[in-house]
Amino acid sequence: MTAIIVAADSFVGPSRERFSSGRAPVVASYVILAIVLAVVVSADLIAPYDPNKQDLDAILLGPSAAHPFGTDDLGRDLVSRMIYGTRVSVLAAGQAVAIAVLIGVPLGLAAGYVGKAADLVIMRVVDAVMSFPAIVLAIGITATLGPDITTAMTAVGVVMAPTIIRLMRAQTMSVKGATFVEAARSFGARGVRRLILPHILPNVIQPVLVQIAILMGFALIAEASLSFLQLGVQPPTASWGSVLSRAYTFFDQTPMQIFIPGIAIALTVFALNIIGDDVQRRLDPKRKGR
């Protein structure tokens, strides 16, 4: 073990033993995820108001029939802002995860499959990136490039990529020596198209899929954090983080408004983690017989 391995998998911890959470939370988690995705898809249909429409005669209202979550300091309807904010936050998190996967999968494969110098170089850079607290590096990159949600989530994707690189590398190294890979090489299968894509990738990608659920949760929290610091989404766009940030500014007047986005984040991330554990448990080879 080296100092650097200690920083490994900062988003998951050293080993993810199988967690059994009982049936109820698992079922609830899939329901939560389904609802969130439904809101993302149908935001335009279900939002009662334009999320950016101001009504200065109705600012900082408490819950009412017309505005179940109340209104913010500019009189915007919070239900609508939460609905559109869900779309913005989930897509932003999705963007970050996609970037992490796009960087992490090829580099992890390369490090694990090619080995030697490529492995050394890639893993050194991974160690270096991991020596930064993820949020701090993301803040640094975003602050330098200029605050903007796309920039911020790209930075988050970059700081999450090492987790996937490590995972892919470890998986690839163990599959690389498998007999079926050797068999393929024996009749001349080499390279990306004949060996890596058909044989290695399908056999190493599963844990990455589990990881995606967990990274998605991390990215949602990162979006909220960066938007809270005004580095993420810019006004007037609503996201979970920006709604929370706004609500906090006026929280001595309408303290309840900070509950709404916070609960949305917590429940979604909870659901993603439970689903990650659940998928992991289903995939565990020790559990299913040959």
């Binding site: 007999t179 009749f187 001349g188 058909p198």
Partner: protein, 344 residues
């Protein structure tokens, strides 16, 4: 090199054709941590002639699989030459290389792990054709199905995944995959070891049939002497990465000329029905190839070992006509026979 130490072909006066495949002084060394190297195969000479079945026998870890992997280019050959029909493989151009790859196929040791768990049997079996771009795409499927039929697997099984097959079916699928390219040399690495006895016989019979139908030359690797003796025309006994005895199966079984072969044979009394042999029990484990004993590698476990065995390395010499053994004391122990006798 004295006349006594030449290979069987030259000794036989060169009347035979060049072997289909020949290994000359091939060594495989694996780097293992630090500057240490593990010599898995040590200066091995080996010939396979067209149409014959060559058995390779030795204990676990003796380097049998590594020899096969070296032939297929899967193990790093650190010295020595590989000759295909008398030509050095390392000098092959692309076309010749392709020809060679297609002509030499292997059935791997573990039938389960040799198949990609995420591909159907049909996909796995036709893959060599895809990789080598043999024939038109449409006909590859037919070729694959034909090969599957030849090994006794139905079209229904072809659509399944490896985990849905029995051990015997998986091994048949592996054999089918090795056959689709119409190879000339089939290397079978412990092809039946993972199966139970009844299945072993089935697969062995299948291999015999395929050998005729596909006009195969077979290199059959096993640690099970009775299996090899049953199948092979000629046998090579390996110990710690070296060939210690090389003879026709009958000669080897009737009159082994190396104490190691003798010990292996004595452990299989039903192989040799002619002689009343006492079982020779090998004591101790096979030494580590990281740190092989000096002199004769077998001396640490040989009941006939003398001081000289620990210092002098024996070479393969002709102990009987076309029967070669690497033992310093072969004459003392088994009598003066073969060419050596003729020369006197």
């Amino acid at each position: 090199m004295s006349a006594l130490q030449k290979g069987p072909d030259e000794a036989a006066g060169g009347e035979r054709r060049a072997p289909l495949l020949e290994l000359r002084q091939v060594s495989v060394r694996y780097p293992v941590g630090g500057r240490r190297r593990l010599t898995a195969v040590d200066a091995v000479d080996l010939r396979v002639h067209e149409g014959e079945t060559l058995g390779i026998i030795g204990e676990s870890g003796s380097g049998k699989s590594t020899i096969a992997r070296a032939v297929l280019g899967l193990a790093p050959v650190s010295s020595g030459k590989l000759l295909w029909q008398g030509e050095d493989v390392s000098g092959f151009d692309r076309a010749q290389r392709r020809e060679f790859v297609q002509a030499v196929q292997m059935v791997f040791q573990d039938p389960h792990s040799a198949l990609d768990p995420r591909r159907t049997i049909a996909q796995s079996v036709r893959e060599p054709l895809d990789v080598m771009r043999r024939g038109v795409r449409g006909s590859r499927q037919e070729v694959a199905m034909q090969a599957l039929a030849d090994v006794g697997l139905t079209a229904e099984i072809a659509g399944r995944y490896p985990h849905q097959l029995s051990g015997g079916q998986k091994q048949r699928a592996n054999i089918a995959r090795a056959l689709v390219t119409r190879p000339r040399l089939l290397i079978c690495d412990e092809s039946v070891a993972a199966l139970d006895v009844a299945l072993q016989a089935e697969i062995l019979n299948l291999l015999q049939d395929l050998k005729v139908n596909y006009q195969l030359t077979i290199m059959f690797i096993s640690h099970d002497l009775s299996v090899v003796a049953h199948l092979a025309d000629r046998m090579n006994v390996v110990y710690l990465g070296q060939v210690v005895e090389d003879a026709t199966t009958t000669s080897m079984v009737d009159q082994p000329r190396h104490p190691y072969s003798e010990a292996l044979l004595s452990a299989q009394p039903h192989v040799n029905l002619h002689e009343e042999t006492n079982r020779i029990v090998l004591t101790g484990d096979i030494p580590s190839p990281l740190d092989p004993p000096p002199g004769c590698r077998f001396h640490t476990r040989c009941q006939h070992a003398i001081d000289r065995c620990a210092t002098t390395t024996p070479e393969l010499t002709e102990a009987l006509p076309d029967h070669w053994a690497a033992c310093l004391r072969t004459e003392e122990l088994y009598g003066l026979t073969g060419r050596a006798k003729e020369l006197i």
